[in-house]
Amino acid sequence: MQTHTFDVIIVGAGGAGMRAALESSTRARTAVLTKLYPTRSHTGAAQGGMCAALANVEEDNWEWHTFDTVKGGDYLVDQDAAEIMCREAIDAVLDLEKMGLPFNRTPEGRIDQRRFGGHTRNHGEAAVRRSCYAADRTGHMILQTLYQNCIKEGVEFFNEFYVLDLLLNEESGEPVAAGVVAYELATGEIHLFQAKSIVFATGGYGKVWKTTSNAHTLTGDGMGIVWRKGLPLEDMEFYQFHPTGLAGLGVLLTEGARGEGGILRNASGERFMERYAPTIKDLAPRDMVARAMVQEVREGRGAGPNKDYVYLDLTHLPAEQVETKLPDITEFARTYLGVDPITELVPVFPTAHYAMGGVPTNVETEVLRDNEHVVPGLYAAGEVACVSVHGANRLGTNSLLDINVFGRRAGIAAAEYANSVEHVDLPGDPQGATIALVERLRSGTGSERVAAIRKDMQDTMDMNAQVYRTEATLKQALGDVQELKRRFANVSIQDKGTRYNTDLIEAIELGFLLDLAEVTVVSALERKESRGGHAREDYPNRDDVNFMRHTMAYKSTDISGEEYVRLDYKPVVTTRYEPMERKY
């Protein structure tokens, strides 16, 4: 076993992790631990853009952006955090341009901007051009640009290192961050990393669902690790289903397609969004569009042999515009469905996309251990975190923004804190739990297989905890997941080797997914209202009297020693916007 000592450890090399690393590495001795090569991170899959009120093509300002974010999030957004994000958005975009990001340009040579769902002029008057983009490869360009700048700055990476545990110690009876334990894929060796500050930037957990836009590797490790330490997870019932996944596959087609003028149609060719959101129609926020699509299918207006999808129509747009502004998604439709968007309608249906919830932090990205107290030295940013700027439903383009704004803040805060304290001692037997986890899986002789349990979990979550939920479906999902957890205890893997043991890794990742599926469902069961991405058919209205509050879930043990998910609540921060009914 090897031990390493740094000032700052960043876990994750997606947009949030590398943006943090660029700040932290110039201020303190920093290492980035990542299970993927940095450029493989899923930030690279992001397509449509990153919003900032640059006002390059029409009048705009950050206050309008803040309002849209709060309203889009169905008023569960912490408004102080949203204000910070939308104000700092402008510099975040300009910083990326200065680092070399090749944005699309206006005729004057400025950064071009386009429309995106839920982003409006003057508090909802009409759609506004706010999204800064590079064709439909904005995330790819962000990821590449950040990695390139990390090379320039000489940031130290530990590639294909899987962080499996967080080490906390106590100082005057309070938990403080001390380090992490990592598993090196190439060798199977366990490494201890001692650090003064630790930043989690591990991304989302879309692989809980079967139909998803997320990568195979988005297994919620960071959330799972924090959860197992007894730290809370916030608002896990709020998971976003993006309207336009390729039907049956889940591969994403950006909302930018509708920003460029694309239209959703049902089997008879009707532009059905006119009925659901008369003002901004196809550019309504994602939760509303996803529900409208499911509604169309349920009422028999779906297309295809099983009437189980709707169409995205780009055929009326000039071929040139589609090829140049949306080249990648055009290729996805051609490659994976054999459909040419220039001349044909593309079958689409909602796909599991984005976690609004996650590890609770304050606006300085410090991780909370309850409603008030932080864990000194522990930070989180990006999709793993819940600040909460997205509330009950994230607006498109606000995640690439989130990872840049709060990634930067995390890097600065972590480095400054590290420069002000000494290392905390590692707790006793720091690697013990990780070695036990690895050995249990490696030596397991049970009859259960990882792939089978994962499939069953994804099936029940797609069936019972997707766009629409009821008490009955959620109870079904909960029972199923708990049964799958029992089966997981009896899992065995075939690869007993030490080198590049991806069989072992998949088993560990499944363990995290099962934990997160359970937290998601329990949180959803208790939220007896419909708000943003959480639509309860048995409670169809928003209930501000009882549920204008964040869910805080904790891993707990009852008197008989049974583990269970304990729920608590946290108030929403409101600054200038009073909750209103959400109409578009």
């Binding site: 340009r105 129509d313 309608l345 069989d503």
Partner: protein, 252 residues
């Protein structure tokens, strides 16, 4: 409204059927094997399934030791370049229907990088070459308060090479790269092109030094393997030619 649908082609609605497909996979487990060998696996697949789906199925249902890298599953992260029927491709972007399934489909690791286990190769030499060409913007003068201006035409000049996902399909299809330790390989050239032709960049002299130093560029024999291999459709050979020309005439 309905007229719009009638004018456009409504997608085919055939019900697909699964067929047994055999994969002949080049296996090497460093913990147990002395040498690499071939092994056959048969799985039921739909025509629209990807080779990656097949590998996932084999790993999940038949043999958990089968090892390969993958992440995004749709050709955007560059994890799963491998030789499929003798050609470098991304497993997640190769559909069963585009392969001849009457014969076993061969799957091997990409060539020219040390094989660590099954499809997993050591990527370090590849990334090291990338890092050497200074793959970052080297601007000149004071940092502006707002964005640097760039015309749409100037932006288009290097658009093709911004698409690279560092999958190594090009570099590991290059016969010069296989035999010559000095050559940076096509992917590094693509990265150099990305910056040399960016109107905001002033690092030409620095990059020129690096590229001339090890005869890094001059080994290219224009075999076009790289262009054929690139899953992003980048005109790799053209980019290399443009870099060479820029070096000869010392200007972009």
């Amino acid at each position: 409204m309905a007229a719009v649908v009638e004018e456009t082609v409504v997608p085919e609605t055939e019900v697909p059927v699964a067929t047994d497909v055999t994969f002949r996979i080049r296996r090497f487990l460093p913990d147990v094997d002395e040498d690499a060998h071939w092994e056959d696996y048969t799985v039921a697949l739909f025509p629209t399934d990807r080779v990656l789906t097949a590998l996932e199925k084999i790993k999940g249902e038949l043999d958990g030791t089968l090892s390969f890298r993958r992440s995004c599953g749709h050709g955007i992260c560059g994890s799963d370049a491998m030789r499929i029927n003798g050609r470098n491709r991304l497993a997640c972007k190769t559909l069963v229907k585009d392969l001849d399934i009457k014969k076993p489909i061969t799957v091997e690791p990409i060539k020219g990088l040390p094989v660590e286990k099954d499809m997993i190769v050591d990527m370090e030499p590849f990334f090291a070459a990338y890092r050497q060409v200074l793959p970052f913007l080297i601007p000149e003068g004071h940092e502006p308060t707002r964005e640097r201006l760039q015309s749409a035409e100037d932006r288009a000049r290097f658009d093709d090479t911004t698409k690279c996902i560092l999958c190594a399909a090009c570099t590991t299809s290059c016969p010069v790269y296989w035999t010559d330790g000095q050559y940076f390989g096509p992917a590094a050239m693509v990265a150099a092109h990305r910056f040399i032709f960016d109107s905001r960049d002033s690092g030409f002299e620095q990059r020129l030094e690096v590229l001339n130093d090890k005869e890094g560029v001059w080994r290219c024999r224009t075999t076009f393997n790289c262009t054929d291999a690139c899953p992003r459709g980048i005109q790799v050979t053209k980019a290399i030619q443009e870099v060479k020309r820029a070096l000869i005439f010392r200007r972009v």
